[in-house]
């Protein structure tokens, strides 16, 4: 694994220079928590490192809530996103499988992916509902991103994880190769301590390999009980890093607007004749679990849940997916 390092002041200066040719988004903490903000010279110093997790899922940079998918686009400035948690990097892999398949690739998604440099950030510490490790996802990236950044007592350390990332870091003269084994050991110790925190916090959650079977075999009573407080608001799907269902809306001139949609909304599967397999709230509620833990794994080979915990945080009915799983695994 290749590491580069520089002083925090040098990194901040480099970012200021990069602002001339990139749009940079980075996670920043404010009074409401932590989320991505557009970076300007004035807020570079406020960028937050090593802390979980921005409120907005990474998918929002690649799948806007609403976009015209038939009109020509003006070229956009390339982007850098800093501070992506590894759970979101895992989620993006599933989005890539979906939107970059050989037969039907989405040229708008693809253009954004090609024009974006991903800099993830190791999570040192956890939030209340973080449970990535229970899905065998580490709280730090070792692949599928371009770089991973760590701020260690005023030193910025970058793990190089792709050729694109290597080419990029080579343009920053102050980024020196990190040979000091002790620093790497400190990082690894921090990573391990986050994993220990996750293991303790995720105690009682089932083995991720068994989640599909548990969901498939779950009795109706479970869905009835947990959907009782669901109001079909769709917050869980909107904020989920892997939910990508959408609707095409027609506009004059045979233009189409693609708008994010969700199986939690009534009428999602209704056909013109009136049949609707997901008419009942309980069925829509179950559908989300079946999709994430049974059908997507059957189709793509991986769960469509990354353990980010955002659906739990966002639920206005206080429905806790992890409580459901603990009950299922009893």
């Amino acid at each position: 694994m290749q590491y580069r390092c520089m002083k925090k002041e040098e990194w901040d200066k480099a970012l200021e220079q990069l602002l001339l040719s990139y749009t940079i988004f980075a996670s920043i903490e404010n009074e409401f928590g932590k989320d991505y903000e557009v970076i300007k010279p004035v807020n570079i110093s406020r960028i937050s490192y090593n802390r979980p997790k921005p409120a907005t899922p990474l998918k929002s940079f690649f799948l806007p809530v609403k976009e015209n998918v038939t009109s020509e686009r003006a070229p956009e400035q390339p982007r850098i996103i800093i501070g992506i948690p590894n759970c979101d990097i895992e989620g993006l892999k599933l989005l890539d499988e979906f939107y970059l398949d050989n037969e039907f690739n989405d040229i708008f998604y693809r253009k954004r992916r090609e024009d974006t440099l991903l800099i993830s950030s190791d999570c040192f510490g956890i939030q209340e509902h973080c449970h990535c490790l229970s899905y065998n996802i580490k709280p730090y990236s070792t692949k599928d991103t371009d770089l991973a950044v760590i701020n260690l007592n005023g030193t910025i350390i970058l793990r190089v994880l792709s050729l694109k990332g290597e080419d990029f870091i080579n343009t920053i003269p102050s980024a020196k190769s990190l040979e000091d084994k002790r620093t790497i050991e400190i990082i690894e110790k921090e990573q391990l301590s986050t994993e220990t925190l996750l293991s303790a916090s995720n105690k009682g959650l089932p083995d991720y390999k068994k989640t599909g079977e548990l969901v498939r075999e779950a009795q109706e009573g479970i869905w009835k009980k947990y959907s009782a407080r669901c109001v079909s608001c769709g917050a869980c799907t909107t904020i989920c890093p892997t939910c990508t269902c959408f609707l095409l809306i027609d506009k004059p001139g045979f233009e189409k607007v693609k708008q994010l949609d969700a199986c939690q909304y009534p009428g999602f599967e209704r056909v013109a004749g009136g049949e609707d397999a997901l008419q009942e709230l309980q069925k829509r509620f179950r559908n989300r679990y079946m999709c994430k833990y049974v059908w997507k794994p059957e189709k793509f080979g991986s769960l469509a849940c990354t353990g980010c915990g955002r659906c739990i945080e966002s639920c206005i009915g206080k429905i806790n997916k992890n409580e459901l799983f603990m009950e299922l695994s009893k």
Binding site: T244, A272, A277
Partner: protein, 274 residues
């Protein structure tokens, strides 16, 4: 290497003729402005400019390349607008999408087709295709049901089919009038009339969900193996690309993995008849 085609962009097609098939059903004859072809059983997304689009399986022969016919029942928002369209306007076409009928696997067999209502539309396309290769088939039997004699579509085509060697047609209506001299009752009663060598036969079912359900049950009870019953499934296919999620039927995207499935492929998936 991924291609640069915009998967969401329709091609324009001129509406050159509109045929009234029944009080609720019209056939639209379209001439696409760009090259367009499909395999029988595949579907397209047909749009009314600025209003919306909906999935339809073309009812014309897949062997015709200059024009395409789509038979539409007035049943919802988009189809309401379609029925108001006048000759000469342009519609939008995306596709073709999905997996059609595996015609080659029908060779040397009898083909038993069970259709209901507007489900005759995809079947007519299939029948055109089967006629073109009839030297490779043993026999084609069509059992078609509709609500009333007035609702029976493709009347001239039925007459033509009845004159075609190797093809036979049985029809039923739920409610007859004085001029009806064929069967009365649900379409599955026609299966009692047909003589079919099940071992050397495959069955195709297309129609409203309730008809598909009872049709499939009857075919199974007649002895058809699950893998020899081909169903053309109806779900809310919105994007046609296996991405938007509206037509998920268990692990399958009906738009991409179907719409034609054998019964054994989907029997364990939830809500297949809804």
């Amino acid at each position: 290497m991924l291609n640069d085609k915009n998967i969401y962009k329709p091609i324009r097609a001129k509406l050159t003729n509109i045929i009234d098939e029944s009080p609720l059903i019209k056939t639209f004859v379209l001439v696409p402005e760009e090259e367009f072809s499909f395999k029988t059983g595949q579907f397209i997304e047909l749009s009314v400019d600025g209003i919306g689009e909906a999935p339809f399986t073309p009812s014309s022969s897949p062997l015709l390349t200059k024009k395409i016919e789509v038979t539409v029942m007035r049943t919802g928002y988009v189809t309401e607008y379609m029925h108001m369209l006048k000759q000469g306007v342009y519609m939008g076409i995306r596709g073709p999408f999905g997996r059609g009928y595996p015609i080659e696997s029908f060779y040397d067999k009898e083909v038993l087709i069970l259709g209901g209502g507007c489900g005759f539309a995809p079947i007519r396309s299939l029948l055109y295709n089967l006629k073109a290769i009839s030297d490779k088939l043993r026999k084609v039997t069509l059992c078609y049901g509709s609500k009333t004699p007035e609702d029976c579509i493709y009347k001239p085509y039925i007459s033509e089919l009845r004159q075609t060697p190797k093809f036979e047609v049985f029809r039923s209506v739920d409610k007859a009038d004085g001029n009806w001299n064929e069967r009365v009752g649900v379409v599955t009663i026609l299966l009692d009339d047909v003589k079919v060598d099940i071992k050397n036969s495959i069955a195709v079912v297309c129609g409203p969900p309730v008809m598909m359900k009872f049709g499939t049950r009857k075919l199974l009870s007649m002895g058809y193996p699950e893998h020899d019953i081909y169903l053309s499934m109806e779900k809310n296919m919105s994007c046609g690309l296996g991405k938007c999620g509206h037509c998920m039927m268990g692990k399958f995207f009906v738009c991409r993995d179907g719409p034609v499935f054998t019964y054994d492929e989907i029997k364990d998936q939830p809500d297949i008849w809804n």
